[in-house]
Amino acid sequence: MISTAKFDYLIKQHKNKIYNYAVYMMRNQMDAEDITQEVLIRTWKNINKFNFYAAKSWMMRTTHNLCIDYLRKNKKMNYNEVQIEEEYHEEIADNAIEGNPERLVDKVFTDEEIKTAIERLPERIRSPFVLYELQELKYKEISKILDVPLNTVKVNIMRARKQLQKELKNYADERVK
Protein backbone atom coordinates (compact mmCIF):
# COMPACT_ATOMS: atom_id res chain seq x y z
CA MET A 1 0.00 0.00 0.00
CA ILE A 2 2.89 2.31 0.79
CA SER A 3 4.27 1.64 -2.65
CA THR A 4 0.98 2.84 -4.14
CA ALA A 5 1.36 6.19 -2.44
CA LYS A 6 4.98 6.40 -3.57
CA PHE A 7 3.99 5.53 -7.12
CA ASP A 8 1.19 8.11 -7.15
CA TYR A 9 3.58 10.77 -5.97
CA LEU A 10 6.32 9.89 -8.46
CA ILE A 11 3.90 9.85 -11.38
CA LYS A 12 2.47 13.19 -10.37
CA GLN A 13 5.92 14.73 -10.14
CA HIS A 14 7.68 13.25 -13.17
CA LYS A 15 5.13 12.16 -15.76
CA ASN A 16 5.46 15.29 -17.88
CA LYS A 17 9.26 15.21 -17.73
CA ILE A 18 9.27 11.64 -19.01
CA TYR A 19 6.78 12.37 -21.76
CA ASN A 20 8.49 15.53 -22.98
CA TYR A 21 11.90 13.93 -22.99
CA ALA A 22 10.50 11.03 -25.01
CA VAL A 23 8.88 13.45 -27.48
CA TYR A 24 12.18 15.22 -28.13
CA MET A 25 14.06 11.95 -28.43
CA MET A 26 11.57 10.05 -30.60
CA ARG A 27 10.43 13.05 -32.65
CA ASN A 28 6.87 11.77 -32.70
CA GLN A 29 4.09 11.64 -30.15
CA MET A 30 2.95 8.07 -30.76
CA ASP A 31 6.31 6.57 -29.84
CA ALA A 32 6.68 9.04 -26.98
CA GLU A 33 3.32 7.89 -25.58
CA ASP A 34 4.35 4.23 -25.81
CA ILE A 35 7.61 4.95 -24.04
CA THR A 36 5.93 7.00 -21.33
CA GLN A 37 3.50 4.20 -20.63
CA GLU A 38 6.29 1.65 -20.57
CA VAL A 39 8.30 3.77 -18.13
CA LEU A 40 5.30 4.17 -15.84
CA ILE A 41 4.65 0.44 -15.83
CA ARG A 42 8.30 -0.33 -15.15
CA THR A 43 8.28 2.21 -12.35
CA TRP A 44 5.29 0.44 -10.83
CA LYS A 45 6.96 -2.96 -11.14
CA ASN A 46 10.21 -1.73 -9.59
CA ILE A 47 8.72 0.67 -7.10
CA ASN A 48 10.34 -1.06 -4.11
CA LYS A 49 13.71 -1.50 -5.74
CA PHE A 50 14.87 2.10 -5.84
CA ASN A 51 15.33 4.78 -3.24
CA PHE A 52 12.71 7.51 -3.21
CA TYR A 53 15.24 10.29 -3.75
CA ALA A 54 16.94 8.39 -6.59
CA ALA A 55 13.62 7.77 -8.31
CA LYS A 56 13.86 10.75 -10.65
CA SER A 57 17.23 9.63 -12.01
CA TRP A 58 16.01 6.05 -12.27
CA MET A 59 12.91 7.06 -14.23
CA MET A 60 14.81 9.37 -16.57
CA ARG A 61 17.51 6.77 -17.17
CA THR A 62 14.84 4.19 -17.98
CA THR A 63 13.19 6.67 -20.37
CA HIS A 64 16.50 7.37 -22.07
CA ASN A 65 17.36 3.68 -22.43
CA LEU A 66 13.93 2.89 -23.83
CA CYS A 67 14.22 5.73 -26.33
CA ILE A 68 17.59 4.44 -27.51
CA ASP A 69 16.19 0.90 -27.80
CA TYR A 70 13.19 2.14 -29.79
CA LEU A 71 15.36 4.21 -32.09
CA ARG A 72 17.63 1.26 -32.76
CA LYS A 73 14.76 -1.13 -33.33
CA ASN A 74 12.95 1.21 -35.67
CA LYS A 75 16.18 2.14 -37.37
CA LYS A 76 15.35 5.75 -36.90
CA MET A 77 18.75 6.63 -35.63
CA ASN A 78 20.68 8.06 -38.49
CA TYR A 79 24.11 6.46 -38.73
CA ASN A 80 25.59 9.73 -39.88
CA GLU A 81 24.41 11.41 -36.73
CA VAL A 82 26.48 9.06 -34.60
CA GLN A 83 29.52 9.79 -36.66
CA ILE A 84 28.99 13.50 -36.38
CA GLU A 85 28.76 13.14 -32.62
CA GLU A 86 31.97 11.18 -32.33
CA GLU A 87 34.01 13.28 -34.72
CA TYR A 88 32.23 16.52 -34.28
CA HIS A 89 34.06 19.43 -35.74
CA GLU A 90 33.68 22.69 -33.96
CA GLU A 91 33.64 24.44 -37.31
CA ILE A 92 30.22 22.98 -38.04
CA ALA A 93 28.69 24.85 -35.18
CA ASP A 94 30.90 27.86 -35.53
CA ASN A 95 29.60 28.33 -39.05
CA ALA A 96 26.32 29.25 -37.41
CA ILE A 97 27.75 32.52 -36.31
CA GLU A 98 29.02 33.54 -39.69
CA GLY A 99 27.23 36.03 -41.89
CA ASN A 100 24.94 38.76 -40.74
CA PRO A 101 24.04 38.19 -37.10
CA GLU A 102 21.47 40.96 -37.05
CA ARG A 103 19.31 38.93 -39.38
CA LEU A 104 19.06 36.19 -36.76
CA VAL A 105 18.67 38.52 -33.83
CA ASP A 106 15.74 40.33 -35.35
CA LYS A 107 13.72 37.15 -35.88
CA VAL A 108 11.41 35.77 -33.25
CA PHE A 109 11.08 32.03 -33.48
CA THR A 110 7.90 30.14 -32.83
CA ASP A 111 7.81 27.31 -30.31
CA GLU A 112 7.37 24.83 -33.13
CA GLU A 113 10.49 26.09 -34.90
CA ILE A 114 12.51 25.82 -31.72
CA LYS A 115 11.19 22.32 -31.02
CA THR A 116 11.94 21.18 -34.56
CA ALA A 117 15.42 22.67 -34.37
CA ILE A 118 16.05 20.78 -31.11
CA GLU A 119 14.70 17.56 -32.63
CA ARG A 120 17.11 17.95 -35.53
CA LEU A 121 20.10 17.83 -33.22
CA PRO A 122 22.10 14.60 -33.28
CA GLU A 123 20.93 12.20 -30.57
CA ARG A 124 24.03 12.28 -28.41
CA ILE A 125 24.04 16.04 -28.05
CA ARG A 126 20.25 16.32 -28.05
CA SER A 127 19.68 14.21 -24.95
CA PRO A 128 21.98 16.15 -22.57
CA PHE A 129 20.70 19.43 -24.04
CA VAL A 130 17.04 18.52 -23.43
CA LEU A 131 17.77 17.21 -19.95
CA TYR A 132 19.74 20.33 -19.01
CA GLU A 133 17.90 23.16 -20.73
CA LEU A 134 14.33 21.85 -20.72
CA GLN A 135 14.14 19.36 -17.86
CA GLU A 136 16.45 21.53 -15.70
CA LEU A 137 18.53 18.61 -14.46
CA LYS A 138 22.03 19.16 -13.10
CA TYR A 139 25.20 18.10 -14.91
CA LYS A 140 25.80 15.39 -12.32
CA GLU A 141 22.30 13.95 -12.70
CA ILE A 142 22.61 13.95 -16.48
CA SER A 143 25.98 12.24 -16.22
CA LYS A 144 24.33 9.45 -14.19
CA ILE A 145 21.30 9.15 -16.45
CA LEU A 146 23.27 8.99 -19.69
CA ASP A 147 26.14 7.08 -18.10
CA VAL A 148 28.78 9.40 -19.54
CA PRO A 149 31.53 11.45 -17.85
CA LEU A 150 30.58 14.85 -16.46
CA ASN A 151 32.90 16.66 -18.84
CA THR A 152 31.34 14.92 -21.84
CA VAL A 153 27.95 16.19 -20.71
CA LYS A 154 29.23 19.76 -20.57
CA VAL A 155 30.95 19.53 -23.93
CA ASN A 156 27.89 18.00 -25.60
CA ILE A 157 25.59 20.66 -24.19
CA MET A 158 27.89 23.34 -25.58
CA ARG A 159 27.95 21.62 -28.97
CA ALA A 160 24.17 21.35 -28.94
CA ARG A 161 23.83 25.06 -28.26
CA LYS A 162 26.08 25.89 -31.20
CA GLN A 163 24.34 23.42 -33.47
CA LEU A 164 20.94 24.76 -32.43
CA GLN A 165 22.09 28.25 -33.32
CA LYS A 166 22.99 26.96 -36.74
CA GLU A 167 19.56 25.36 -37.17
CA LEU A 168 17.86 28.60 -36.13
CA LYS A 169 20.00 30.53 -38.57
CA ASN A 170 18.76 28.20 -41.30
CA TYR A 171 15.19 29.10 -40.37
CA ALA A 172 16.07 32.77 -40.53
CA ASP A 173 17.67 32.28 -43.95
CA GLU A 174 14.61 30.40 -45.24
CA ARG A 175 12.36 33.23 -44.13
CA VAL A 176 14.46 35.77 -45.97
CA LYS A 177 14.26 33.67 -49.15
Binding site: A5, Y9, N16, L40, M158
Partner: protein, 184 residues
Protein backbone atom coordinates in the same frame (compact mmCIF):
# COMPACT_ATOMS: atom_id res chain seq x y z
CA UNK B 1 35.04 41.02 -39.89
CA UNK B 2 33.84 37.44 -39.52
CA UNK B 3 32.45 36.18 -36.27
CA UNK B 4 34.55 33.09 -36.32
CA UNK B 5 37.60 35.28 -35.84
CA UNK B 6 36.63 35.41 -32.18
CA UNK B 7 38.53 32.80 -30.31
CA UNK B 8 36.74 29.62 -29.24
CA UNK B 9 37.17 30.31 -25.56
CA UNK B 10 35.48 33.69 -25.84
CA UNK B 11 32.64 32.23 -27.93
CA UNK B 12 32.07 29.53 -25.30
CA UNK B 13 31.99 32.18 -22.60
CA UNK B 14 29.49 34.23 -24.58
CA UNK B 15 27.25 31.19 -25.02
CA UNK B 16 27.40 30.34 -21.33
CA UNK B 17 26.51 33.92 -20.41
CA UNK B 18 23.62 33.89 -22.88
CA UNK B 19 22.27 30.63 -21.45
CA UNK B 20 22.72 31.90 -17.90
CA UNK B 21 25.16 29.32 -16.55
CA UNK B 22 28.39 31.30 -16.52
CA UNK B 23 30.38 32.40 -13.51
CA UNK B 24 30.20 35.98 -12.29
CA UNK B 25 33.68 36.85 -13.58
CA UNK B 26 32.86 35.52 -17.06
CA UNK B 27 29.61 37.46 -17.00
CA UNK B 28 31.45 40.70 -16.24
CA UNK B 29 34.15 39.90 -18.82
CA UNK B 30 31.70 39.15 -21.62
CA UNK B 31 29.54 42.20 -20.93
CA UNK B 32 32.64 44.37 -20.84
CA UNK B 33 33.73 42.88 -24.16
CA UNK B 34 30.23 43.46 -25.54
CA UNK B 35 30.58 47.17 -24.80
CA UNK B 36 33.86 47.43 -26.65
CA UNK B 37 33.16 45.01 -29.51
CA UNK B 38 30.15 44.95 -31.81
CA UNK B 39 30.89 41.36 -32.82
CA UNK B 40 30.69 40.17 -29.24
CA UNK B 41 27.56 42.19 -28.66
CA UNK B 42 25.83 40.73 -31.74
CA UNK B 43 26.82 37.20 -30.86
CA UNK B 44 25.67 37.65 -27.27
CA UNK B 45 22.31 39.01 -28.48
CA UNK B 46 21.88 36.10 -30.89
CA UNK B 47 22.52 33.44 -28.31
CA UNK B 48 20.53 35.25 -25.63
CA UNK B 49 17.54 35.31 -27.95
CA UNK B 50 17.88 31.60 -28.68
CA UNK B 51 18.36 30.78 -25.00
CA UNK B 52 15.23 32.72 -24.07
CA UNK B 53 13.29 30.90 -26.77
CA UNK B 54 14.53 27.50 -25.53
CA UNK B 55 13.86 28.28 -21.87
CA UNK B 56 10.44 29.65 -22.76
CA UNK B 57 9.26 26.35 -24.21
CA UNK B 58 6.34 24.94 -22.26
CA UNK B 59 6.16 21.30 -21.27
CA UNK B 60 3.35 19.31 -22.78
CA UNK B 61 1.04 17.35 -20.50
CA UNK B 62 0.92 13.60 -20.81
CA UNK B 63 -2.23 12.57 -22.72
CA UNK B 64 -4.92 11.45 -20.30
CA UNK B 65 -5.38 8.09 -22.02
CA UNK B 66 -1.79 7.12 -21.16
CA UNK B 67 -2.45 7.69 -17.48
CA UNK B 68 -5.75 5.83 -17.75
CA UNK B 69 -4.09 2.84 -19.38
CA UNK B 70 -1.39 2.81 -16.72
CA UNK B 71 -4.01 3.05 -14.00
CA UNK B 72 -5.86 0.08 -15.46
CA UNK B 73 -2.70 -2.01 -15.51
CA UNK B 74 -1.83 -1.21 -11.91
CA UNK B 75 -5.48 -1.01 -10.73
CA UNK B 76 -5.50 -4.26 -8.76
CA UNK B 77 -3.56 -2.65 -5.93
CA UNK B 78 -4.55 0.89 -6.75
CA UNK B 79 -8.16 0.76 -5.59
CA UNK B 80 -7.59 0.58 -1.85
CA UNK B 81 -5.16 3.11 -0.51
CA UNK B 82 -4.94 2.91 3.26
CA UNK B 83 -4.90 5.83 5.66
CA UNK B 84 -1.24 5.17 6.50
CA UNK B 85 -0.35 5.27 2.82
CA UNK B 86 -2.12 8.58 2.49
CA UNK B 87 -0.04 9.95 5.37
CA UNK B 88 3.15 8.70 3.78
CA UNK B 89 2.08 10.15 0.47
CA UNK B 90 1.51 13.51 2.15
CA UNK B 91 4.97 13.31 3.73
CA UNK B 92 6.55 12.46 0.40
CA UNK B 93 4.72 15.39 -1.12
CA UNK B 94 5.70 17.81 1.64
CA UNK B 95 9.32 16.77 1.97
CA UNK B 96 9.76 16.29 -1.77
CA UNK B 97 9.66 20.05 -2.04
CA UNK B 98 12.80 21.68 -0.72
CA UNK B 99 11.16 24.87 0.53
CA UNK B 100 8.79 23.09 2.89
CA UNK B 101 11.30 21.10 4.97
CA UNK B 102 13.49 24.20 5.11
CA UNK B 103 10.58 26.25 6.48
CA UNK B 104 9.62 23.54 8.98
CA UNK B 105 13.24 23.34 10.16
CA UNK B 106 13.47 27.14 10.50
CA UNK B 107 10.24 27.29 12.54
CA UNK B 108 11.40 24.45 14.81
CA UNK B 109 14.81 26.07 15.32
CA UNK B 110 13.17 29.42 16.11
CA UNK B 111 10.82 27.77 18.59
CA UNK B 112 13.63 25.94 20.42
CA UNK B 113 15.79 29.09 20.61
CA UNK B 114 12.82 31.12 21.88
CA UNK B 115 12.12 28.56 24.60
CA UNK B 116 15.73 28.70 25.80
CA UNK B 117 15.97 32.49 25.61
CA UNK B 118 12.69 33.47 27.25
CA UNK B 119 12.38 30.69 29.77
CA UNK B 120 12.21 32.27 33.27
CA UNK B 121 11.91 29.52 35.86
CA UNK B 122 10.13 30.50 39.09
CA UNK B 123 11.99 29.56 42.29
CA UNK B 124 10.44 26.55 43.94
CA UNK B 125 12.18 26.82 47.37
CA UNK B 126 10.74 29.24 49.94
CA UNK B 127 12.81 30.62 52.85
CA UNK B 128 11.48 31.29 56.37
CA UNK B 129 11.48 34.78 57.90
CA UNK B 130 14.14 33.78 60.44
CA UNK B 131 16.43 32.52 57.65
CA UNK B 132 16.06 35.78 55.74
CA UNK B 133 16.82 37.86 58.86
CA UNK B 134 19.88 35.75 59.57
CA UNK B 135 21.10 36.17 56.00
CA UNK B 136 20.65 39.96 56.22
CA UNK B 137 22.54 40.02 59.52
CA UNK B 138 25.42 38.02 58.05
CA UNK B 139 25.48 40.28 55.02
CA UNK B 140 25.74 43.38 57.24
CA UNK B 141 28.55 41.79 59.24
CA UNK B 142 30.42 40.93 56.05
CA UNK B 143 30.02 44.47 54.73
CA UNK B 144 31.17 45.91 58.09
CA UNK B 145 34.36 43.81 57.98
CA UNK B 146 35.05 44.90 54.43
CA UNK B 147 34.33 48.56 55.35
CA UNK B 148 36.71 48.36 58.31
CA UNK B 149 39.45 46.95 56.15
CA UNK B 150 39.02 49.79 53.67
CA UNK B 151 39.07 52.35 56.54
CA UNK B 152 42.31 50.93 57.90
CA UNK B 153 43.88 50.97 54.46
CA UNK B 154 42.87 54.63 53.96
CA UNK B 155 44.25 55.69 57.35
CA UNK B 156 47.60 54.00 56.83
CA UNK B 157 47.83 55.49 53.35
CA UNK B 158 47.16 59.03 54.63
CA UNK B 159 49.41 58.80 57.66
CA UNK B 160 52.33 56.77 56.45
CA UNK B 161 52.54 56.66 52.67
CA UNK B 162 51.28 60.15 51.81
CA UNK B 163 53.07 61.95 54.65
CA UNK B 164 56.39 60.12 54.78
CA UNK B 165 56.96 58.79 51.30
CA UNK B 166 55.39 61.39 49.02
CA UNK B 167 55.14 64.73 50.87
CA UNK B 168 58.75 64.68 52.04
CA UNK B 169 60.06 63.99 48.57
CA UNK B 170 57.79 66.60 47.02
CA UNK B 171 58.99 69.25 49.49
CA UNK B 172 62.57 68.35 48.79
CA UNK B 173 61.93 68.66 45.06
CA UNK B 174 60.29 72.12 45.44
CA UNK B 175 63.24 73.23 47.56
CA UNK B 176 65.73 72.16 44.90
CA UNK B 177 63.77 73.85 42.10
CA UNK B 178 63.53 77.07 44.07
CA UNK B 179 67.28 77.01 44.69
CA UNK B 180 68.03 76.51 41.02
CA UNK B 181 65.58 79.15 39.73
CA UNK B 182 65.91 81.83 42.33
CA UNK B 183 69.49 81.02 43.13
CA UNK B 184 69.21 80.32 46.86
Amino acid sequence: MQMNELNKDLVDKIIRVAYGDSGFIDWIYVHFKAITSDEVKSLLNEYTKSAKAVHGLKQEDVPAQILEKTKNITSSTHSNVSFLSRIEYSLYYLFGKKAIPATVFAILALFIISVFLFRNPTPTHKYSKAQIELAEKQLKQSLAIVGKAFQNAENSFNKEVLKDQINKNLNRGYYLVNNILIGG
